[in-house]
């Protein structure tokens, strides 16, 4: 009797469904992903039960645990105009068009006006160093630079919104983001600066608490 031949077949496994699924997931994540914006300082906001979603269009002041203030504003054109105004007010010379462009795409920053140009021109490394070591935007009443950033920024934003005819629901809102361990003193001062400029409605950024109320 001859040997029974077992037909030689490759130990193959059809992986098509798995690959299909993998690519489906890739597509899903790619389309839903919204990248974390570059934060100047790590902030861990306190948790609350609020379920309101963060508005898209914001003027934000961040206060870190040391009480340093950082400023950010959405909208590239607005930022350019804002920088022009600030540079004019603080008599800073030598701002070029490329500086403006770099400033327009920047995220939060927390340096006094005297260091601003160096910050704008700096690479990632220099900016990181500034973020760590700078004193933040000055908020004391003698040298209230944050107040100027807010006043000019808000003003430019209003002009921009009116010319672009953005619906009122999407108008810029003020948000304050602070670490849970920040002292109330710094927050109070920031709120005071806003209120001095007749801005009285804030969004306080919090994380979501998971437990039910």
């Amino acid at each position: 009797m001859g040997k029974i031949k077992i037909p030689k077949s490759a130990p193959s496994l059809d992986m098509t469904p798995m690959v299909d699924l993998a690519f489906l997931l890739v597509t899903f994540f790619m389309l839903t992903a919204k990248f974390r914006v570059n934060e100047a300082v790590p902030i861990l906001p306190p948790a609350s039960h609020s379920e309101k979603i963060l508005p898209e269009n914001m003027l934000q002041v961040t206060v870190d645990t040391a009480g340093r203030a950082f400023f950010s504003l959405d909208g590239q054109d607005v930022r350019k105009n804002l920088l022009k105004k600030m540079v004019q007010k603080y008599n800073i010379t030598g701002v070029t068009e490329s500086d403006m462009k770099r400033f327009a795409v920047m995220t939060e920053f927390g340096v006094p006006m005297s260091q601003l140009l160096a910050y704008i021109r700096g690479g990632e490394k220099e900016r990181g160093k500034f973020d760590k070591e700078s004193t933040g935007i000055p908020i004391d009443s003698v040298n209230n630079q944050l107040g100027d950033w807010i006043a000019f920024g808000w003003n430019e934003k209003q002009i921009d919104q009116q010319t672009k005819k953005i619906s009122k629901d999407n108008w810029c809102r003020i948000s304050i983001k602070a670490d849970g361990q920040t002292n109330y003193k710094a927050i109070k001062r920031v709120m005071q600066i806003f209120q001095d400029r007749n801005l009285n409605s804030f969004n306080l950024i919090t994380n979501m608490k998971t437990e039910a109320p």
Partner: protein
């Protein structure tokens, strides 16, 4: 792919014709799949699902003319004093007296100040609940309900909470309090500076330095 392609083609016998090797019609997809999974991992790790939430707070507009300032009914006021202590909340009802005995303490837990608010705010909560029941039974219209609730919340003798935080208090504590005020349905509250007299009393109590 995970597949071993056996040496096919070619002749087995001497006399067989030599045939061109049969090429497998499969394309090696390994690199593509590798890349796919790499991207998948990347996106899974970088996406953030829990978007930060926000709490809205409206501060009162401060009128320049001090005579136009709104006077609150102090009998219904409840003043919370927040200090750097992360576990204790001090509070008193009504007008401030320079006396440590009026100051009570509670904590940030559910059993703590939420209970305190509820007790004080019972009247309003009960009234709003009655209105809600009426709405459910369709005895009143939606717009009427909203109007009546607002009216109820504007009643003069409702609870009014004044949150006074010491400069050393943590932001977290303030957010916790505001959160509880919202949950407790407290109709009106304000964030005010702590007065030196109040600080002095806490100092006498030995609660702050």
């Amino acid at each position: 792919m995970a597949e071993i392609i056996e040496g096919g083609g070619g002749g087995h016998g001497k006399h067989q014709k030599k045939r061109a090797k049969k090429h497998s019609s499969r394309v090696d997809m390994t690199p593509m799949v590798d890349l796919g999974f790499l991207l998948l991992t990347f996106f899974v790790l970088t996406t953030q699902f829990s978007k930060p939430k926000t709490m809205e707070i409206n501060m009162p507009v401060i009128p320049k003319d001090s005579t136009k300032r709104v006077k609150i009914n102090e009998d219904n006021a409840m003043t919370l004093l927040l200090t750097e202590k992360a576990t204790k909340v001090y509070y008193y009802y009504g007008k401030f007296k320079n006396d440590a005995s009026i100051i009570k303490t509670t904590d940030y837990s559910k059993e703590g100040f939420r209970k305190v608010f509820r007790e004080r705010n019972n009247d309003m909560i009960a009234k709003v609940k009655i209105l809600k029941d009426k709405l459910m039974k369709r005895e009143i219209a939606d717009s009427t309900y909203k109007r009546l609730v607002i009216k109820e919340k504007e009643q003069k003798n409702n609870l009014f909470v004044i949150v006074k935080a010491d400069e050393k208090a943590k932001y977290k504590n303030i957010i916790d309090i505001i959160d509880e005020l919202v949950i407790g349905d407290v109709p009106a509250y304000a964030l005010v500076d702590i007065s030196p007299a109040e600080k002095q009393v806490l100092k006498v109590m030995g609660e702050i330095k």
